[in-house]
Each structure stands twice: as structure tokens, then as C-alpha cells.
Symmetry: C2
Subunit: 344 residues, 2 copies
DNA sequence: TAGAACTATGTTAGCGCTAACATGGTAGCG
DNA sequence: CGCTACCATGTTAGCGCTAACATAGTTCTA
């Protein structure tokens, strides 16, 4: 009764749920009017609109967004691809994106590459298949195939985190400069025997960029720039291990420049357990400006990166494009800030 | 040439991209065969399948998943609704879900309620509109309207985090019992003057459940169970403030049971800055078992909750249902574990 | 007051894909 | 050898919605 008559003999997966047609019948209008009442209310008489909205409630209509997307060839999905969910940094960027997009009625499709470019390419394919309105991806490094897929795509593409030669839009910061900045700070504080501790820099290549900046400055000062590379991306435990390895490999080291705050804080807490005085016996510096590092004693010297802001700015720039406005800035440098703590 | 003839006079949003029909023509088969070659390869002759796959590459076909979902009335989307992205706890649950679902070809649709039940209801509506294959939501508390929407829905519904009277499936732990467990531990260690520090327990009602358990034990022992409630959910800074407030309001307090590890660790680090000895002058306990608390000195006494496991188990149970298997367990208790540290 | 301009609603034709049914060919069986 | 069974492929008819065009009524303009 409440359901459509099956067409003669052929059965069809009838989805039981009320459709726009049911709403239209209940309101005594055509389905296109019901559609307009919901999507472009200003194009419908107020009286009619009210009748339609009542009908929606009465029949318990939930719009089929898939059908709508197919018909209109656009989905209000924003694809977001990050290399990891285990890293607070990406979570905060996602948060900035999500807050901005969700309030404008866009839905985020989250993809996690686990630092695998092939996986990224596969995700991009899938997301293109969902007719996303835009795509945000962390970083500028992609596989060949991924690049091809993206360059044949006609919607906004936003690459966040670092700055460089982007496909389309780009919001990020200069990691090499950040590395230089911290290295300069350490030199200014009088340290000469400085070790960089990275972690999986083939995957976390932004840490590699910071290391490159670090090296430039140290070499410019005529100093060695020794490196210890850990096999865990960023954790307190790995940081503790890093401190041990530095002390073993470079007994004369007086300062450690860590690739991120997790490592640095882990080392700092470990130093306390060992009875090492920070920074007297060993100076420790990080990168990211996580709350964690700002609550330990001594407070961690680090570089604050505006992650949530980065997500927000990226989202706003995309929204401008989606609203048909001309691009204001294809590339935006969100900058960073040295947080001088007591650990150096 | 590469495009469809527009139908007489009527123009149509022609999406430029190659469609399955183009692939089929290039491979010299009908489009349903091309569809089968991609989706149910075992139902197509190997030779034909190869021709189709070559054609896919040749024309640069990207499947339109929206059209596919509409036709098949199912989308391989899993809706996941959490109250916050700022809280590591939910991120880890999401990670467990994502790892399990992504490997099976499902895409997560992430929604963030900001602890607002109306917002949750709106998200549920939207997600139902996307014909999700299943819905996962954090917690058992929902608005009336949300409950109605869910009960009229015919796909798996999974409620995670706490245990109780669920709509459908339920994976979580007993927060009241966790609260009792920690309270008992504190009593066993000899503490008698114990303050609970919560934060926004109207929103983080699971912390309220733990507080309830805490109260039961203390009252059972004939003790008072004073409460300090903070207005920030969980941060190191709020924990530090919490310690100050306890010392001011309850100078005789000898132990603090914090609602979570962020607060507890913040208090612990703050205690060190103040020169308070933990646990001699003040014992501190938390909840969650975050790595953070396990790397400070003294190591934090807390309760380990298996968050990623919770996500994984939830996903696996849903997948069983989606694979048509009979429900094994509608409700699963993932349990928890007291991590005795040196802070009590 | 004719006709342009605008408003409110309706009709038609798909969006790109797949479920359901149909068809022809090849084994398999007693 | 006529039968069923199965395999590989094709034809048809939508899934539920909205863009494009159409139509009738109303207001504005010169």
C-alpha cells in the first residue's frame, strides 16, 4: 500500500524508505517542487514550502543524497588524505578542515595512506569516484600515477603541510627554514656539539627537510652535523631511546635537535630519570609546539606550527573557489614561531 | 568525438569523464559485462576480463561510485560519529575502525558532534541519506529524534565506549566498575581523604559514571567523596588548575582521582613544579592509560582502556553482520586494566 | 494595454550504474 | 538424445533525484 506497484513482472530492490515522490504526493505538488522546497527554498512560495516541510515530517522522509549527487554530478564531499592518524599533527589539521567544512555542509572523506604513496594513489582514485568537490592531501610528494589522476581533475586540489611546487593550491610552512631557525637558536645559545635525531625520514620527509636546514646552518658555522635516525616515527619511548643512542654514539654531544616534540619530550623525561640536568648536561629541542612539551620542567624549546590554522586556511581557500570566487592566493605560508623554553 | 551526442535540443551536464559505456565499447562488450569484469570478476571469462581491464587503462576510466551506489542501493560507507576530535581517546577508536574497514574496502564517513545531541541527530540524518552500510556512534545517549531515526533503520548500528542498553550492537567497557576499581585501589593504598576531579561531566558523562562508581566505594567505606569539577574537558593546563583548586578547597586531601590522564598528568607535572612530592604529599590517579602518563616520573597510576581494540572489535562485529553471518555477540565487554604506577 | 520580465510550478529526460530477467552455447547425465 | 545444469553474455528497466526546458499567471513598463 505504502509502496510502489512493482512494474508488472519485474521485481526491483524497493528501498522501503519514502522518497521525494511520496513527499510530493503528500504535499500535493510535483516532485521537482518538493526538491526545490528543500534545496532552494527561496524559489518556492512560502505557503507551498511549508506544506512540503510538513509532508517531509509526516512521511519521515530522509533525502537520498546519493541520488541527488548523481543527478547534480557533485557530492559536497571533501576528500582528505593524510599519512597517519597516530600523529597529533595531522589530527589537528583535520580538525581545522572539519570545523570549517562541516559548518558549510560539506562532508569530509578521510583517507589514511600509512605513508604509502601507492595507497595514496588508490585513495585518490576512490575519492575521484565519489565526485568530491575538492581534495586535500598532506604533502607535495605523490606517485607518478597519482599526479596524473590529479592533473586530469577539474576540482580544487589543496596540498597542505609544506610549501613548494603544488598542483593547484598550497598552504603550509617552510620546513627547511624551520630547521635553520632552530639550528641558529642552538648556535646562539652557545652549543657547538649538536646532534640531530630523526625518525624514518624517508617517510617523514618533512623532518628530512628540517634536517637539511639544520645542516646548512651548522655547516655554515664550520661544524659537523651528525645524525641519529630512529626507526619509530614519534613517541616518548623512541625519544628516550634516542637520548641513549646519542650519548653512546656521541659522548661529547651537548645538544640534541629532535625531529619532533614527542621524541624531544620523551628524551627530556628520560634525562630526568637518568639524573641528567637539562640543559646543563644536555640541551634538548623539538618541533611542533605540542602542549605536552610546554608542561614539562624545564619547558621544551621548540617551534610552534599553526596546524589547526593551516587546516582552517586551507578550507577557507577551497570554499572561496567553490563559491566561484577568484583565487586569492594559490600559495599561503602560515609561518611558524620559535618557542624558547628552558630546555636549551 | 569522445563525447555523447546531446539529445536533440536538450543540453545536459556532460561530465567529460569516460564512463563504463566507453570502457565497454573499447573492449567490445556490453556495459554490464564491463561492470561484472570489475565488480564480480569470477563471473566473467578470463579473456574478456583482461580486455576490459586493458580498456579501463586505455580510456582512463574511474568508476563513478555514486552511480554504482544508487543502482545497488548500498554505498560501502561506514558512518562514524564521535563527540570530539580533540580527544586522543576517540582518535584511537577511529583508528581501530579505520584500519579494519579500509582493508575491506569500506570508507569511513566521520562526523563530530562537539558533544551536542542535536548535532548528532543531524549527522545521523545526513549519514542515513548516504545509504551507509553501518553506523558507529560513541556512547549510548542520544536525542529522542535520533533514537527514532536509528530504530527505523535496517542496517547494523554499533554503539561503542560504554556498556548498556544498546539499539543493536555494543562494544565497550564498564565505566562505573572502572571508577570502583580505582577507588578501591586508593583505599588499599591507605588513602582516606580522596577528591575526585571531573571535567564537564554533563558532556563527558562517562567520567560521571566513573565518579558514581568511585562514590559507591568510598561511601561503602564510610568516607566522604568530595568533587571538584573543571570547565575544560581534558588538558594538562586544566589538570594543573585542578590540583590548585583541590589544595585550596580541601587542604587535607591526600589523593586525587582524576577523570582522565591528561588532567592527572598535568597535575603531576604541576606538583613537581610546586615542589610537592608525589605520592608522599599527594597521590594522583588517572584514567585511560595514555603513553604520556607512563613516561613521567613517578609513573602515573591509571586504568588502561583498550581503545584501538575497541574500534577493531566493533568493526569486526559489523563486518560479520555485513557478510551475512549470524550475530555472535550483540554486546562485548572489552574490559580494562589497572596500571599501578608510582603516583599512588 | 501590449509585451517584457518575473514568479511559481510542472514535464521530460537523463546522471552512470547494476538487479533482474533473457538468451544461446556447452557440458553432464541417465 | 532429450533433459537439466551451468556458464558467459546481453537486454531492459529502473535506483531517486535534479538540470533543462516549458507553461501559466502576475506584475511591471513604456
Amino acid at each position: 500500500m505504502s509502496n510502489h506497484e512493482p512494474s508488472r513482472t519485474r521485481r526491483r530492490r524497493g528501498s522501503a524508505h519514502p522518497t521525494l515522490k511520496d513527499v510530493a504526493e503528500a504535499a500535493g505538488v510535483s516532485s521537482i517542487t518538493a526538491s526545490r522546497a528543500l534545496n532552494t527554498p527561496e524559489r518556492v512560495n512560502e505557503e507551498t514550502r511549508k506544506r512540503v516541510l510538513q509532508a517531509v515530517d509526516r512521511v519521515g522522509y530522509v533525502p537520498n543524497l546519493i541520488a541527488g549527487s548523481l543527478a547534480s554530478a557533485s557530492s559536497r564531499f571533501i576528500a582528505v588524505i593524510v599519512p597517519s592518524l597516530a600523529n597529533t599533527v595531522f589530527i589537528e589539521v583535520i580538525k581545522g578542515l572539519q570545523d570549517t567544512f562541516e559548518s558549510r555542509g560539506y562532508q569530509i572523506l578521510l583517507g589514511n595512506t600509512d605513508y604509502d604513496l601507492q595507497r595514496e594513489q588508490q585513495l585518490v582514485r576512490t575519492f575521484l569516484g565519489w565526485s568530491c568537490s575538492a581534495l586535500v592531501t598532506a604533502g607535495l610528494r605523490h606517485s607518478e600515477g597519482c599526479r596524473t589522476l590529479l592533473s586530469n581533475w577539474d576540482k580544487p586540489i589543496m596540498e597542505v603541510m609544506e610549501l613548494g611546487k603544488a598542483q593547484d593550491l598550497n598552504v603550509g610552512l617552510d620546513h627547511e627554514e624551520a630547521g635553520r631557525c632552530m639550528a641558529r637558536h642552538l648556535l646562539e645559545r652557545g652549543y657547538r656539539s649538536i646532534v640531530y635525531v630523526g625518525a624514518c625520514m624517508d617517510r617523514d620527509y618533512r623532518a628530512g627537510m628540517r634536517f637539511a636546514g639544520h645542516c646548512q646552518v651548522l655547516e655554515g658555522a664550520g661544524l659537523e652535523a651528525p645524525l641519529i635516525e630512529l626507526d619509530q616515527l614519534g613517541s616518548l619511548a623512541a625519544g628516550a631511546a634516542g637520548l641513549d643512542r646519542v650519548r653512546e654514539a656521541f659522548p661529547s654531544a651537548r645538544a640534541i635537535h629532535f625531529a619532533n616534540d614527542d621524541l624531544a619530550t620523551g628524551a627530556l623525561l628520560h634525562a630526568q630519570r637518568l639524573g641528567l640536568r637539562v640543559p646543563v648536561d644536555m640541551a634538548i629541542a623539538g618541533f611542533n609546539g605540542l602542549p605536552l612539551g610546554q608542561h614539562v620542567t624545564p619547558r621544551l624549546t621548540t617551534i610552534q606550527s599553526p596546524r589547526e590554522t593551516m587546516g582552517r586556511l586551507a578550507a577557507e581557500e577551497i570554499l572561496r573557489r567553490l563559491d566561484g570566487k577568484r583565487v586569492t592566493r594559490r600559495q599561503q605560508d602560515v609561518g611558524f614561531q620559535l618557542l624558547g623554553g628552558q630546555s636549551t
